[in-house]
């Protein structure tokens, strides 16, 4: 696994995430979100799981930004008013504290890994995690019906 590839992907992911969080134009933020998720799919390829990469690309890098852009256009909120300075202060302190804690916790294990085939992942998905799989399908159905019910126009 190439260090250079990981460094480039990590840099692009972090840059995209920063644009999502800091850009005042919310359309720019949504497009940056799509690119961030696309590069995260590349990260999954590096991790040896092409199945996750494909699903990440189809769901997170394609469907979710399109939905987000639809909502942005519907609600006509192109620009974001900046928050009060105290929010930036609190958020910055929280993020740095969280990061420092996690950094102190991180070791540097040195094992290599071997990739698992998509067939193996799919077989495990349908045997060991069959119950969560079915629960996830019910959850998706509930979310779909719930979203339709919540978002429909009520006749006055």
């Amino acid at each position: 696994m190439s260090v250079l590839g990981f460094a480039i992907l990590a840099g692009l992911i972090l840059a995209g995430a920063l644009v999502v969080v800091l850009s005042e134009n919310i359309v720019h933020a949504a497009v940056a979100l799509a690119f961030t998720f696309f590069f995260i799919a590349g990260l999954y390829v590096l991790l040896g799981s092409p199945l996750l990469a494909v699903i990440q690309f189809a769901v997170n890098a394609a469907a979710i930004p399109i939905l987000t852009l639809f909502i942005i256009m519907t609600t006509q909120s192109r620009r974001v008013r900046p928050a009060a300075g105290v929010f930036y202060l609190v958020a910055g302190v929280l993020a740095v504290v969280f990061l420092a804690g996690l950094w102190a916790y991180l070791g540097a294990p040195q094992e290599a890994f071997r990739p698992l085939s998509p067939e193996g992942l799919g077989a495990r998905l349908l045997t060991v995690t069959l119950l969560p799989f079915e629960v996830a399908s019910v959850l998706l159905l509930l979310a779909m019906v719930g979203a339709v019910v919540l978002a429909r126009r009520r006749e006055a």
Binding site: V20, V21, V59, I64, T75, L94, P115, A143, A147
Partner: protein, 102 residues
Amino acid sequence: MITLGHFLALSAVLFAIGLFGVITRRNLIAVLMSVEILLNAAAIAFAATAAYKDPVFFSGQLFALFIMVVAAAELSIGFAILLNVFRHTGSAATDVVEEMRG
């Protein structure tokens, strides 16, 4: 050589960025996008830990899969609620949502 620590560090930084966004953003759409970043940071940590520490069963990658499912469900419901808030108040800013009942 890339170690597990690299992936976890990337995940931690990404999570911190998302946390920053959730707190500072004042538009509900932007808050939901930041939550998506948080969920993806967690999914990266799960998938990387599975690849390095669990080379036989890869359970963490299944967790990452379920995180994507829950993220999609959360986002669709979140946007439906946001549409209602927008119709009710004419705005998608966080500070217009002050009461529970419409």
